[in-house]
Amino acid sequence: MEISKEIYRVLADIVGDGYISDDPVVCEGYRSGPGGYESGLGYERVMTKVPGCVIMPKYTEEVQKIVKVCYRHEIPYVPYSTGFYGPRSHPHVKGALLIDLKRMNDFVLDEKHFYVEVGPGMVYSPIQEECMKHGAYVVIGGGGAQASAIANLIGDGWSPLSHRIGLPHRRILGTEVVMPDGEILRLGSLAQGGDDPFWGESPGPDLRGLLRGYTGLRGCLGIVTRMAIKTLPFQPERLVPTGISPNTALALPEKRIKWINFVVPSKDAQVKAMKEIGHAEIAGAVTKVPLFWRAIAKAECKEEFWDLWGKENEQTVANFHIVRVLLIGYTSEEQMEYDERVLMDIMTEVGGVARRTKPSDESWIKNADSAGMWLMCGGYVSVDYVIETMTQAPEHGPAYAELKKKYTPPLMPDYGDPGWFQSFEMGHQGYSEFLVYWDQDDDTNPVDQFYVDTSKMNIKNRFYTSLLGPHQPLYLTGPKYGPNYHEFLLKVKNEFDPKWMSHPPVPLAHDVFVERAPWMHNMKDWESPKDLDKIKD
């Protein structure tokens, strides 16, 4: 339903006239647009709409009132923390209300109990800076220091620092959610009725799973308005920012924190080294990143990237085995020295050779340079991220690399680079992320097709896929991973959002996309309800 003048007035009274607008120019400023994550692809062109109105609440009570108005008058709405996460963060139906949460950027640090409490407008780098001032740290999701911590933690929440800090689910403590119809849900110790968010758990079922599932519900089950996030002890010395943009980095106090890059002889050696480092319970991060990231880091401009990357080939990529280790002297210099000796022993065993490594950190600790991903091509998406065992995860990348050949071009020639792979939770898990790049001025239909083909590949190879509901056709993945995952998810959705006002048609958006995009029809070899195409746009 359109937002009538009367409803607009009611909404304006909630937040004040300065924080609501249905001006077409203001709304155009919120377009998903052809640039950015997954953008320029069919999903963005077919599924996203410019909002009909934008509102910027400051307090939970305002969010609650807004959502209640929406529910009463059947106005679809979309929560939006920073909007960085591409088309899926933008309205999919005409006339929707975009609820921009940037003003909800409260920040409280509880030094004694080692947690921070934030609103959805608070992004990662300030949180990390405040934490480090108090001897603590958090994982900045690889998606960037500019991502909303809440939006990241209810969907993703990992980076190389996850080697020690571990999975995001357990770092979510007391949390407050405005449910799709405007009711407030408090999780963890906040459910006890007090104002202490220290515990993530609370009596009864742990609803954090409902909140984020594996990689989140992407705004289709209400709005998180407040979250306490667990922090972990760091080392005490200051990491000093140096340089002038674009060459800025944190200078590391080398006796307490340093990166070391090792070249190892083979993939087996790489996996073994990572596992052994985990078993020895040393290091703050252990990772292997795609070779082209090195070219991004070295290149001053996109043309230079292609100069550097043009020198690589299938052979050099296949022979590139690097293990990047971040050592942190959490408790003392002596502890760091001990860790380094253990690390060197492991590397001697697997034949690893330490390379000269800069005594600085450009990415991961406080800044996560995700914006650089767009430097060389303009089009980018991570088609999948998988958390598996350490032995299974490295199998995932090569399978992708193989499938990708069929779609290159338009995908960037990456010579079979198997993507990003790292240890999680001290080697108890392996993480693999597969990234693809393209020029959005090319025919991008094959990229849309590749995306869905990756799901089919995962199903065929029995890889677990993270991007179940909100990023892939639910009726393709649900029956295979459930066998009734899709039915379960839809029941949850129908229970809490019977009118489907919270970011429709997520979690069926990709199913709808496949119906609407003619170039996807030949991909469809699964059953889905006949009335999908009746979902209004």
């Binding site: 155009e28 400023g29 950015g36 910027m56 800076e129 002038i244 674009p246 043009g310």
Partner: protein
């Protein structure tokens, strides 16, 4: 491009130029914005914490995404493609922006997008489409046409600032371009500059008939008028035989060094003379021993990096080329990333003054928060100018400074008003005044 691999797509190359006269030149840049908001956040490496996190005055004041560069890029793209109609809001979004370049340098930390040029080009389009600039800007243009200065002050009083006992040379290597502000509203700056030059025994000349640099005209998109002034002023300097064009106004510095060449489609190097700001000149004089900061000034001091002499001041080189696969351009383009900003010189000067305790604000150098006055903002959107200065003042106070030093009369005036309005216990001085006080015996 090296090693053309056989899997590449060979699509036609499109011609483009870094020419703000035509918005189509920037459709690529505007359409590639990824909403990372690196244009708004302080460089994450330097992020000071949960306070003072942003660097875009426009986004900070109005909050809607439309006001940040990410919104402006989407809006600009829609205008370039004819998908959007001009309205009052559009003009506010485009002009309530200090063109401070924080977005440009933030974006170019990771990407190769021309954000500042896109914003400038959008204003040129607004003027071409007959909707821009804002009424206050038109008034300034009128003033300049009539009186050769932006304030409509009498032209024959332009040199009235000259202090007794200082006579400019007829012929000298250094030509001091005073600018409208220092000629009329901030004579103390021009007087200080003259005294500093005298103390260093540097002869300087003035333009026989100095006129406005055209900063506001250029900044609001009135290119024809700005170009005429650029040509006239450059010709005057060339005629004078000066080797160095000296200015103590940040906006003027950027005009001479970057935007005149841009308007005339020449390189900064082809101007035929060197453009220097007072801080560069004094820094050199100090290093050569010609000037010494001797008189003590016991104060806790903070320095405001003026946008136009920091992230906006990389020299200009015209560019015309083709964009092809993956957006790569030929011939190679050295992007202007704001790396030649005058960051060290003012700090070295201030630190050399006995008694000065120079404190860095959390947002400093390329991350500095604009005072909000420049490029036609204060005249058309005084609320934004007031807001920006008040916002920055919070940071100045937070740093513990009692003296704020600026290097541009527009910054000084805007801060002075905000200090007065807020009844703040901070004094603001131009760096020329500070230097002058320290060298005067």
């Amino acid at each position: 491009m090296a090693n053309e691999s056989d899997v590449r797509y060979y699509k036609p190359r499109t011609e483009f130029a870094l020419d703000i006269k035509d918005i189509q030149n920037f459709v690529y840049d505007m359409s590639r914005c990824i909403k990372c908001k690196g244009c708004n956040w302080v460089d994450h490496t330097y992020m000071p914490g949960a306070k003072f996190m942003t660097r875009c005055p426009s986004a900070e004041k109005y909050q809607f995404d439309a006001y940040g560069a990410y919104g402006k890029m989407r809006i600009g793209h829609a205008f370039a493609e004819g998908r959007l109609e001009w309205n009052e809001k559009a003009l506010e979004i485009i002009y309530a922006c200090t063109l401070c370049g924080a977005c440009d340098v933030g974006c170019k930390r990771n990407l190769d997008l021309e954000i500042e040029l896109s914003l400038e080009s959008l204003r040129v389009k607004a003027v071409k489409d007959g909707v821009g600039p804002m009424p206050a800007h038109k008034k300034i243009a009128e003033n300049i046409a009539k009186t050769h200065n932006m304030y409509a002050a009498p032209h024959d009083k332009r040199k009235d600032w000259l202090p007794a006992g200082i006579t400019p040379a007829r012929k000298a290597d250094v030509l001091y371009f005073v600018g409208c502000a220092a000629s009329y509203t901030n004579k103390e700056i021009a007087q200080s500059v003259a005294k500093i030059l005298k103390a260093a025994k540097v002869d300087f000349m003035l333009m026989p008939d100095e006129q406005c640099c055209g900063n506001t005209l250029f900044s609001v998109g009135m290119l024809d008028e700005a170009k005429a002034l650029a040509q006239r002023n450059i010709d005057e300097v060339r005629k004078s035989g000066a080797k160095t064009l000296l200015t103590a106004c940040a906006e003027g510095y950027r005009m001479w060094k970057v935007d005149y060449p841009k308007l005339l489609n020449i390189s900064t190097a082809d101007l035929g003379f060197k453009v220097v700001h007072l801080v560069e000149y004094v820094d050199e004089l100090m290093k050569d021993g010609a000037l010494k900061m001797s008189k003590a000034f016991a104060t806790r001091m903070a320095y405001q990096d003026a946008c136009s002499m920091s992230r906006l001041s990389d020299p200009w080189t015209p560019y015309q080329g083709k964009r092809g696969w993956m957006g790569c351009v030929e011939p190679r383009l050295k992007r202007r990333r704001g790396t030649s900003g005058l960051y060290a010189q003012p700090r070295d000067i201030l630190k050399a003054i006995p008694g000065v305790n120079l404190l860095e604000m959390p947002r400093t150098r390329e991350n500095a928060f604009c005072c909000g006055a420049g490029r036609g903002t204060k005249e058309a959107f005084p609320d934004l100018a007031k807001f920006s200065a008040a916002h920055r003042l919070e940071e100045i106070k937070d740093s513990g400074a009692e003296t704020l030093v600026t290097a541009c009369p527009h910054c000084k005036n805007n801060f002075a008003q905000a200090i007065k309005a807020g009844n703040e216990h901070v004094q603001v001085m131009d760096i020329a005044e500070v230097i002058c006080a320290s060298i005067e015996s």
